[in-house]
Symmetry: C2
Subunit: 387 residues, 2 copies
Amino acid sequence: MTDISHRMNRVQAPIIPEVADLIDCNPGTISLGQGVVYYSPPEQINQGVQEFMKMNSHHYQAVEGIPALRNLISQKLRDENGIDASSYEIVVSAGSNMGFLNAILAIADTGDEIILLKPWYFNHEMAVRIADCIPVSVDTDQQFQPDVKLMEQAITNKTRAIVTVSPNNPTGAVYDREKLLEINELCRNSNIFHIHDEAYEYFCYDDAEHFSPASVESALDHTISLYSTSKSFGMANWRIGYMLIPPRLFKPVRKIQDTNLICPSVISQYAAMECLKVGRTFCDSRIAEIDKVRSHFQQRLTSNCAVSHGKLQGAFYAFLQLPDLGKSDMDIVRFLIEQYEVAVIPGVAFGIEHSRCIRASYGAMQPSTVVEGIDRLTQGLKNLLES
Amino acid sequence: MTDISHRMNRVQAPIIPEVADLIDCNPGTISLGQGVVYYSPPEQINQGVQEFMKMNSHHYQAVEGIPALRNLISQKLRDENGIDASSYEIVVSAGSNMGFLNAILAIADTGDEIILLKPWYFNHEMAVRIADCIPVSVDTDQQFQPDVKLMEQAITNKTRAIVTVSPNNPTGAVYDREKLLEINELCRNSNIFHIHDEAYEYFCYDDAEHFSPASVESALDHTISLYSTSKSFGMANWRIGYMLIPPRLFKPVRKIQDTNLICPSVISQYAAMECLKVGRTFCDSRIAEIDKVRSHFQQRLTSNCAVSHGKLQGAFYAFLQLPDLGKSDMDIVRFLIEQYEVAVIPGVAFGIEHSRCIRASYGAMQPSTVVEGIDRLTQGLKNLLES
């Protein structure tokens, strides 16, 4: 029979729609599931939309994104990230997931290995398998920080890249400058790429500081950086991200994106331009609200239920490690939805198989709602631990 | 050194940007290059855009497309294509190129073979290589019609699918019902998929009739059909296409699209819904103008220069076969741009290596401009042939 490919049999099912189905069956559930922010994009996107509509120009445009948007990105990278983008190429993609898939296809062949830190972001692992490559997982420490020695040991002659995500999905950890430079140098010395996902760059709390490894000169030749407007500007369903790549990757990435997408939706690119013009002050005031929710979450976790978790330093995720309760993490997710009307994502989706973990996202809803969700979650976990 | 992947080295560079560079150096050039239509989408897309903006809802939505759009697509397939979509699954993609890549990844592993008819659509061949599969080319006849015997001979135990495109890019041929059913049955009997690209379904001329093989019951289990709003509704840069797939492919395709795109741009989906509500009468009146241009082209080709070409029955392409002039097809393209200020695409991009062919697209500009372009082209070819 005409079957599906082996490669796709090795790819896990997307977890978000699966949890969404459970939520649909339990109305009233507060979802701490999907990784999105509670706020809408700046009103100025209306101007971008109107400008696009007025042009009445609907032909394909540049595969790598329209020049005006790429210029704004270049300025943003200089001003905020300390990156001289003229040493790289910028490619606008339909979200940073696409940027990641572009990168893997451009640098890795069938059977090549890509090192991911565990717990990994599920779509990264899925992309590696879809490209028929092998994801190699390397554990992080108790605070979900990378262990560079372990990473070094995992490198083989098949390794093509190390992937880091900071601020991290799903753990909320932020890697500091020294750690990221150490990893970047390990990649350089090992002749492999460093793929660094900065989708959550604006979401840093307390004394955590965002750092872009592409800003140092020694990184130029082997660093692929991924960015997104989805989280920072609250425009997830417009699908605009971008990648910053060494110039020799421009041709292969353009081939891939031409074949996959032709060009990112141009009306979405016009909207993204307005966001970049408004700039990060728009985001900062809204992220300050998420920071308050985070403090509440941290306090509830400390006072209400003794589950292990890393510092909540960045993004809007907490990754909670539960003791063995004789239940799978998916059982726990189901229990929390059905008994406490709060939804989280099971750790198995992030590659954690032998302990019971869950990811809670605290950025997706109006702060008052998410505080209620956090209270349900910590109450549910408390009862679970005490039963 | 950190190199690009072997798979990408095997993928040809996108030809459209390369020809565009040449055009930029020769201002005044009329481009018969890119495959787009001259007209804009219906004004009603404004309503879709406004409705989306008013909702102020920017979270991710369904991977496979929003339900309201999928419903409209289902009705359209029933009314226009005679397809009972409830026997299949519909997946909205960011253009039908993405639908094709989704399909290949879902059904084929590294080293598997995909049969393409020559001349093929370049992005199909590129997608097969990006997936690390092997494109197997099968020649068509003098009229660019498929030779089912040759196709059957090309099938091996590695073959996973036969790809057909009708109306055809780049030849303008339309395959009739009998031929498509014969191919579809060959696929069924050989336990391989039939991937059929119908992006140009509305663009049929004279007595050519469009037919969808997915409309017959015996096709249900192995037929993947691809559609686009880019050409028919003149909304190429909005990036909305869709695929119709056997239900068992829904899960793998959803995995791929979740990893690649998460969801198609939602504002673009709202615009596409308005197009589907307006329906094909909008397209038909505009395509009637393209039909007039086609008649002029046909007449000029007959009277002005004796180059071999198939019947111009569909899409908006003519694929011209020139005698050996001691020049490569790219030389001819350069000559036409520099000396006659008219641009076409070299046949090498469509897999034609041992004869000199060019593709001329006659749908992209206001009819008066394209007629001028056709006159320049036929004049240039005449001089070339006589020199």
